[in-house]
């Protein structure tokens, strides 16, 4: 550690522990471990875009182009108008013109807030661009070109009436958009949860005796919800100081949710373990067809077992729509056959 570094560190209040770590470390400024990153490597990974637009790539895209991207790569999960609740909370909706003028979304105020959409909460447009660029489409992240990211970001903003249908989003126009975001003034960093030494916002006291506690039960689980999480007797040991409460035989687990059996005891658990249920439910279409729809289609068709087993490992598109199923190479042939058999027999 150079004396300059040490002086700076002390000025910044670097903790004694961190200093000790650094001082004692054999790194002493620059170790022979690791190597300098090349500019191309940094460019490949440094994809973040900050609220001040540092990191924004060159490019542009229109609402119209964005609609094409949306319809082929986003709509299946988020709905035609970004309204779908199917795989995630809705992206668009819930804001007004007046919100755009004030920069505060009115419906977020008070105790009766409706379901919060992305655009109701969004305070910086960079966040939307950055996130779509790094993570969407969910099943094929980082597959969009920068122009496509501009276009589909413009389309999402259009769905929420932030821009008009002839808008073109680029490095300059994105700054105007920031000034129209319905909730651009709706955030605060004035709270105690950022720093370890931050100020708490509640002030309980440690009263020990005859505390003036108003002891009245205000909320409990309704009777009908007793088995909402399965049989609780099966979620505790059968020995020890207590037992799990027996809560009536629970209904079969919902298609896209929890297994109530330990993993590995059923094909459903296997489908979950191998990530199939991220895209497939038992009955309804999520990204791919419901497994029982598949069973129905291939009922009584000779040779369908081989075909479906092969399709599971290889992936592909066209049988149910344009959305492709990625190859599932984490399965060996035997496992793919096992799942195919289970699906074709009705996924029970």
């Amino acid at each position: 550690m150079s004396s300059w570094d040490r002086a700076t560190a002390i000025k910044l209040g670097l903790s004694a522990l961190a200093l000790a770590t650094i001082a004692a470390s054999p790194l002493a400024g620059a170790s022979n471990l690791g190597r300098p990153a090349t500019p191309a490597e940094i460019a490949a990974w440094d994809i973040d875009v900050r609220p001040d637009f540092a990191g924004l790539p060159a490019g542009s895209g229109s609402v119209e182009q964005g609609m094409e991207v949306w319809e082929s790569k986003c709509e299946s999960c988020h709905g035609t108008f970004g309204e779908s609740n199917e795989v995630f909370t809705p992206l668009a909706g819930g804001t007004t013109r007046a919100d755009q003028d004030s920069g505060r979304v009115k419906s977020l105020v008070g105790p009766n807030v409706p379901q919060r959409t992305t655009l109701m909460k969004l305070s910086t447009v960079s966040t939307l661009f950055d996130y779509i660029r790094r993570a969407m489409p969910w099943n094929a992240p980082k597959s969009l070109s920068d122009d496509e990211v501009y276009a589909v970001t413009a389309y999402v903003l259009y769905l929420n009436d932030v821009v008009s249908d002839d808008f073109v989003l680029d490095q300059d126009s994105i700054r105007e958009v920031q000034n129209r975001l319905p909730n651009r003034n709706g955030m605060t960093r004035d709270h105690g949860l950022w720093e370890v030494a931050g100020k708490a916002d509640t002030h309980n006291t440690a009263c020990m005796k005859n505390c003036a506690a108003d002891v009245e039960i205000s909320s409990s689980l309704p009777e009908y919800a007793r088995d909402s999480h399965g049989n609780l007797a099966d979620q505790n040991r059968s020995f020890g100081p207590v037992r799990g409460t027996t809560t009536a035989a629970s209904a079969a687990p919902a298609a896209t949710t929890a297994p109530t059996q330990p993993a590995g005891t059923s094909r459903l658990a296997m489908a979950e373990e191998y990530g199939c249920t991220g895209c497939h439910a038992m009955d309804d279409t999520i990204v791919g067809p419901g497994f029982r729809q598949v069973a129905q289609r291939y009922a009584d068709k000779a040779g369908s077992l081989d075909q479906v087993a092969a399709k599971i490992r290889a992936g592909g598109s066209g049988a149910w729509g344009s959305m492709p199923m990625p190859a599932q190479e984490q399965l060996n042939e035997e496992q793919a056959r096992e799942l195919a058999e289970w699906i074709l027999s009705g996924a029970n």
Binding site: D5, T8, A9, L12, T21, I22, P26, S31, L33, P36, A37, I42, D48, R50, P51, A54, N85, V87, F88, G110, V113, R116, T118, S123, T127, D130, Y131, A135, W138, K142, N183, M187, R189, L193, E195, V196, T202, M208, N210, C211, A213, S219, L221, S228, D234, N236, R237, S238, P241, V242, G244, T245, P253, T257, A258, P259, P262, G275, G278, I286
Partner: protein
């Protein structure tokens, strides 16, 4: 429990068998008051609740008289189970999802079974999961870690490089900011697995981030923030204050003596003690040093606290002091009256736990619980308290106090400031109601 086969083993035990010789010595020498109480309690159980032998069993318990198979056969050889797994009798204690909480399994949560865990360390296979875009099993030979931004030399490290550097091992809790989030408005879920199970605690091993920032010549003057980024599909990103980064943050590869589990970020994750789990970026690929916060999705759109006036607290990070009783807890049933240990966990993102008080009457009167060692900064702390259950209704609560003097709030106190529409950072006192039947359930007090 009504099954007679289950009651058979409950033969009255002499108190001296209940305690070890060492403990008895401690009790007789009067060194530890609580042990004396425990012994009295145990004696009470023997006198009151114990069942006599059943008819036809006058000679004794058949489990003793008729030797069980494991006493009369040859056991299995070593390494028949080369990576050991829990006993087949432990299959009830597994990670579970909360039905209906999320729509798809790869953007979801599984909760740790706190109701059955002991001490403070979470077994790695039971560590809670929260993934935004599924989990990956990353090839360590192909994994790279980059530091760039406001540094003298942007650098790339392999796992070989990182694992040669001087390491530290520290025990810390990790809690999702949304833990207990379903309970802001009213009681929503039945057991502590679902109310508090986005909580785990492990020993993590890795390189202090401060050493790596030093190695790259980070500009500590202009560089007030770092961005941490993952290598998975979501490439999760979070802003962390440079002050935190230089304090106790670890670039970790080890967890409880072995490598991280894939679901927990194998082979590299960030450990940010005291800060909510989303900042502990898994499959860590990059740290960028910068002069402004980054405004990422999961610090400005999610993991934000919605206040009654419609404003959203962004960049919330610290997990404030909190505690919960894990036994007896919701969904459990007490087996008869008499002695029980009320046991639970306490933790604070601001440091050590100083004290935990327990009430059995809904907060009117409180008794201070024993803190079991170790009591570590930003780690789970186990607390225990002796309790005689007389069969009447009880309302069990625990209230933690951390080293800053902060007292865990009640639900009404929290709602008074933050309303009921928040999702995150619910650190309210939890109440479990014990019915005369022994059934324990989740309730909230007005």
């Amino acid at each position: 429990m009504t099954g007679s086969s289950k009651q058979r083993g409950r033969i009255s035990r002499a108190p001296e068998n209940f305690l070890s010789q060492e403990q008895i010595a401690a009790v007789s020498s009067g060194r530890r008051d609580f042990l004396r109480q425990a012994m009295i309690a145990a004696a009470a159980v023997s006198a009151g609740a114990a069942l006599p032998l059943r008819a036809g069993e006058a000679a004794g318990d058949p489990e003793i008289l008729d030797l069980p198979p494991w006493s009369k056969t040859l056991g299995k050889p070593v390494a028949s189970n080369p990576y050991g797994s829990p006993s087949k009798y432990e299959k009830n204690l597994i990670r579970r999802e909360s039905p209906g909480l999320t729509r798809v399994g790869a953007a979801s949560v599984s909760f740790a079974p706190l109701q059955g865990l002991f001490g403070i360390i979470t077994p790695s296979g039971l560590h809670f999961e929260r993934h935004h875009q599924g989990w990956q099993d990353v090839d360590p030979a192909r994994h790279r870690f980059m530091i760039n931004g406001l540094v003298r030399t942007p650098k790339v490290y392999t796992m070989d490089d990182l694992m040669r550097l001087p390491s530290v091992s520290r025990i810390h809790f990790i809690e999702c900011g949304a833990n207990s989030g379903m309970e802001w408005g009213n009681v929503a879920v039945p057991t502590v697995q679902y109310t508090h199970g986005m909580l785990s605690c492990s020993e993590f091993t890795g390189v202090p981030l401060s050493a790596l920032l030093e190695d790259c010549g980070a500009d500590l003057k202009a560089g007030k923030y770092i961005l941490a980024e993952g290598a998975d599909g979501s490439s999760m990103t979070r802003t962390i204050a440079m002050e935190r980064a230089l304090d106790d943050v670890i670039v970790a590869y080890g967890q409880n003596g072995e490598m991280l589990r894939p679901e927990n970020g194998y082979p590299l994750r960030l450990v940010v003690p005291g800060v909510q789990g989303v900042s502990w970026v898994k499959w860590l690929r990059r740290i960028e040093v910068g002069d402004q916060p980054y405004g990422t999705k999961d610090e400005t759109l999610h993991y934000v606290d919605l206040l009654p006036d419609g404003a959203q607290r962004q960049y919330t990070s610290i997990q404030e002091c909190k505690s919960v009783i894990t036994t007896p807890s919701g969904g459990q049933t007490l087996i008869g009256q008499g002695y029980y240990t009320i046991t639970g966990l306490a933790w604070s993102g601001r440091g050590r736990i100083r004290r935990v008080d327990v009430s059995t009457d809904g907060g009117r009167n409180w008794r201070t619980a024993r803190l079991e060692t170790p009591v570590l900064s930003k780690a789970l702390t186990r607390f225990n308290l002796d309790w005689q259950w007389d069969g009447s209704p009880a309302l069990l609560q625990s209230r933690a106090i951390d080293e800053t003097g902060y007292v865990q709030p009640t639900m009404p106190q929290l709602r008074e400031v933050r309303g009921t529409k928040s999702i995150y950072h619910n650190n309210a006192i939890q109440t479990w109601a014990v019915a005369p039947s022994g059934e324990v359930s989740n309730v909230q007090l007005g």
